[in-house]
């Protein structure tokens, strides 16, 4: 009798111990619980980057500011990202567009409405020598986005892929030129589609398209992008040979790299946290670190544009 009672007590202890261990394990696996939860075993936040900004995330991860092996995330996946992702470094206003995609009434946001600007630049165009002459003829002394967008300008304009965060941000000023006061009912979506179909090379990121304009002209004649990036091409050896010029059409437009926190996740990453390598990576995409602004009214318009031009 004593023996069986003793065994029962020992069994009870074992069961309690087992329960504690299992609970601990479950707690570890639950992303909503406290304690270490990251894929790299640390308690650092998981921050994704738009593919063209991957170097920014890599620099932050190398500095220990975010979890290792940061994932890529672009607009198509940003409305329903992986649960583990706490933040997203991308081009404004991609997080707000993703919120519209997730819920057009925006009653439930995937990303916080307030974002932190990590860098910004004026939106300009890189133009080759021949196209500058054509542009001068059709737009006179001061080019405007509307003039640039005009079908009769005959220019093949590289604006990027509007399905991506980078592409829709670059398209923004031209898309606005195709509508009256961001009124989606007035938008000339066929005009935007024609514009996108202008180049015979693929609509890709500004760096790649500017490289193509510089080294293998004939497929694209104008590239829209951040001033810091495109100005660089004018001073390259081949850029000088091709008389590349940067113009800033009016009205002024900006491009901003932002970090958006995931709704319900606690992300505290600001511009001040950028280590030198991350600042260099921000600079490399053509924006000035710790500058930039966001335009709250733009996301809804671009969301509609994206829906119209696919």
């Amino acid at each position: 009798m004593m023996k069986s009672r003793g065994l029962a007590v020992i069994g009870a202890f074992v069961l309690v111990a087992l329960a504690i261990v299992i609970r601990g394990r479950l707690a570890k696996d639950d992303p909503g619980s406290d304690g270490p939860k990251r894929r790299d075993g640390s308690d650092r936040p998981v921050v994704a980057c738009a593919p063209d900004l991957a170097a920014v995330c890599d620099a932050l991860a190398a500095d220990g500011k975010i979890a290792k092996d940061p994932p890529d995330l672009d607009l198509p996946g940003a409305a329903a990202p992986d649960d583990a992702i706490d933040g997203w470094i991308t081009w404004s206003p991609a997080p707000q567009i993703a919120n519209f995609v997730a819920d057009p009434s925006v009653t439930r946001r995937v990303w916080e409405q307030e974002v932190e600007a990590l860098g910004g630049a004026r939106t300009v165009v890189l133009v080759d020598g021949t196209s500058v002459d054509a542009l001068s003829a059709s737009c006179r002394s001061k080019p405007t986005w509307r003039c640039l967008a005009a079908a009769d300008s005959g220019l093949a304009i590289g604006v990027g892929d509007p399905a991506t965060a980078e592409g829709i941000a670059r398209l923004a000023p031209l898309a606005e030129a195709f509508a009256d006061d961001r009124d989606i009912d007035t938008i000339d979506s066929a005009g935007i589609e024609d514009l996108l179909a202008g180049p015979t090379v693929a609509q890709t990121d500004a760096d790649e398209m500017a490289t193509q304009l510089t080294t293998s002209p004939g497929g694209v004649s104008v590239v829209v992008g951040p001033m810091g990036l495109l100005t660089r091409f004018t001073s390259t050896a081949q850029g000088k040979q091709r008389r590349l010029t940067v113009l800033e059409p009016s009205p002024k437009a900006t491009l901003s790299v932002v970090v958006a926190g995931r709704t319900g996740h606690d992300l505290a990453l600001t511009c001040d946290d950028l280590p030198a390598d991350a600042e260099d990576a921000v600079t490399a995409v053509g924006v000035s670190p710790c500058s930039g602004s966001t335009d709250d009214g733009l996301a809804g318009f671009l969301f509609q544009v994206q829906k119209k031009v696919g």
Partner: protein, 614 residues
């Protein structure tokens, strides 16, 4: 300029000239420097990065790899990388990667693949996807240098057309090709009909880009070419017009450039071809006096008497963008990827991008200016092309290639096979027990599949003491007839052949050429494919020299001249005893190409390369 491939070299480094021609070569081709030594040495304990590159850049890549190996740049985690480039034609490598890469016959599977253009990467991925497999080639590869497709034309001809003041394009080529007047319409009846050189698009990037260009030109588009466009009767008619002027096809543009260069000496280059679709880089090489881009030891460049001019088609053109794919394949390890990326970083450096220029390519790095030799003095224009064409979707390209097989110019071919006694010798030292004749028969039968139904093909075999009375030096087993009726019969006849006696090479070549000329059909490519494993042996060695002289004279007379009826004699030197030099003379006399299959194991690939001319 012409080089016979060294078997030992080929055992080490698969430098070939055509679709996977590992141990074979075409005398007029390029790609190998003919060196008998492995140019890279012992990799030691370094991680070897095998790099398959298209033939026109093998010399450049070899140069760059030598600079990389052993340098600080080659140091990777816990070791070093050792880069080993070898030549692999773009179309051939695409097929090998899609269908399975046999390392025994094709050499090592690559870690980095650099075809001439990224369209091959797209075609590969599409073929893999069609087969339910994952992509191997990244969608955005690093492009480290560029060269546009141009229409190379002898300067007097370009002048006659009013170029560059008058823009020229594929539409003009189609019009010239179908004009009954030919060059007479431009005041030059002595140049005869318009003749176009164009490579086989299933093998060659310039052939593929030319095919894309002519299809766009037919539609008036510069983007979004569709299968519906390809189905349009107007597109088909346009294509048929362009193809009708083709001299012959082939796996590499160097065949045309070498033939042009040789005929330039005799003053007949304008009669051989009026235009060839080539890459700008190759045209520069030609005008510098190095038509195949490879200088053999002791060889010095000699500028041609009649230079070429690069015509940038007015409808637009495409760049060969020389992508560097680190293959996403199960045979590529993480360490190999790391080494590959280190090498690619080095290639992009300005110092190496300047080397790219030395070889006639345009730098992919904007920081390096486009300069000499890309100058008007070399027949090219650094400010062109002004219009690019969009690379069609992969499925459209595959459809285009499939259609081309039926749309290309027809061929009228006499296969002439050596069935001498020496063909009974073992093909190799292995245990297969196959004789040389066994392998040749299998390769010839397999190559029959590449002919289309309305190609006309016949079969002649030669040896001494043939026929019922044992007094014939050759037998016509099948007349030249459409493949629709001859295909099966040809296979059976080839299969039935047995080794016989001696090798009356000169007689059968002369007779074959003469017989084909008698029924010459100007609407087709007229050719003899001659395979032999020996030297001329007809029982009377005393008259061999005179016989050869007479043969070569006959061939040249029939080939050159305004009213010539060119019969191209493509020769295959089979086995180590074959008289390659003589076979090369025979091929060159007819502005064709000689192929070296000194290693019998390569005969399959050589036959494939030969048949790519049709």
């Amino acid at each position: 300029m012409t080089a016979r491939r060294s078997p030992r070299w080929l055992e080490f480094v698969t430098i070939g000239v055509a679709a996977g021609l590992v141990a074979a070569g075409c005398s007029t081709g390029s790609g190998s420097d003919g060196s008998p030594e492995d140019p890279f040495g012992d990799p030691g304990s370094c991680t070897v990065i095998d790099v398959a590159v298209s033939s026109e850049k093998i010399d450049l890549m070899t140069d760059l790899a030598k600079g990389f190996n052993g340098s600080d740049d080659a140091e990777i985690d816990d070791g070093c990388a050792f880069v080993r480039p070898y030549s692999k034609a773009s179309g051939g490598a695409t097929t090998l990667l899609a269908d399975g890469w046999d390392e025994e016959s094709e050499g090592p599977r690559p870690v980095i693949w650099s075809p001439a253009a990224s369209s091959w990467g797209q075609i590969l991925n599409q073929r893999l996807a069609d087969d339910g497999r994952a992509a191997m080639a990244a969608s955005k590869p690093v492009s480290f240098m560029l060269t546009p497709l141009v229409i190379g034309m002898p300067k007097p001809m370009a002048d006659a057309l009013g170029y560059p003041e008058t823009p020229i394009g594929w539409g003009d080529i189609a019009q010239l090709a179908t004009s009954g007047e030919g060059w007479a319409a431009y005041g030059h009846p002595e140049w005869g009909a318009f003749k176009l050189g164009k490579t086989n698009p299933n093998f060659s990037t310039s052939g593929l880009n030319a095919l894309i260009g002519q299809n766009y030109a037919a539609t008036g588009k510069s983007r979004d070419l569709s299968t519906e466009d390809l189905n349009d009767p107007k597109t088909k008619e346009f294509g048929a017009q362009v193809e009708s002027s083709v001299v012959h096809y082939g796996d590499i543009t160097m065949t045309f450039l070498n033939n042009w260069f040789r005929t330039d000496r005799s003053g007949t280059s304008l009669l051989y071809a009026s235009a060839v679709a080539v890459e700008e880089k190759s045209l520069i090489d030609y005008n510098k006096g190095n038509p195949d881009g490879v200088l053999e030891p002791g060889e010095s460049p000699r500028k041609p008497r009649v230079p070429l001019v690069a015509i940038y088609p007015k409808e637009g053109t495409l760049y060969s963008d020389n992508p560097l794919y680190v293959l996403d394949a199960d045979w590529v390890s993480a360490k190999e990827k790391q080494g590959a990326e280190a090498f690619i970083d080095v290639l992009r450096r300005p110092s190496n991008q300047k080397k790219v220029l030395d070889y006639g390519f345009r730098p992919g790095n904007p920081d390096v200016a486009v300069g000499a030799p890309i100058t008007k003095g070399n027949g090219v224009d650094p400010n062109q092309p002004s219009k690019l064409l969009q690379v069609p979707k992969p499925a459209v390209m595959i459809s285009m290639l499939d259609r081309w097989k039926e749309q290309r110019k027809g061929a009228r071919v006499l296969l002439v096979l050596d069935v001498s006694g020496s063909m009974d010798e073992p093909a190799d030292e292995g245990a297969s027990g196959d004789t040389k004749l066994d392998l040749a028969k299998r390769a010839a039968i397999e190559a029959l599949d590449e002919f289309k139904s309305d190609d006309e093909v016949g079969l002649r075999v030669f040896s001494t003491n043939l026929g019922p009375d044992e007094d014939q030096n050759y037998l016509d087993l099948l007349e030249v007839q459409p493949m629709s009726t001859n295909r099966e019969k040809l296979a059976n006849q080839i299969r039935n052949q047995l080794p016989q006696n001696a090798t009356p090479l000169y007689e059968v070549t002369q007779e074959s050429f003469t017989d084909m000329a008698a029924d010459y059909d100007e609407t087709q490519i007229n050719a003899v494919v001659l395979l032999t494993d020996g030297v001329n042996d007809d029982g009377d060695p005393d008259d061999d020299r005179a016989q050869l002289e007479e043969l070569l004279t006959t061939l040249r007379r029939g080939t050159d001249g305004e009213n010539a009826k060119p019969i191209r004699v493509f020769t295959i030197a089979y086995g180590r005893q074959a008289d390659f030099d003589t076979l090369e003379q025979i091929a060159q006399s007819t502005n064709a190409a000689a192929y070296d299959a000194s290693n019998p194991a390569t005969i399959n690939k050589v036959f494939t390369a030969v048949v790519s001319n049709f």
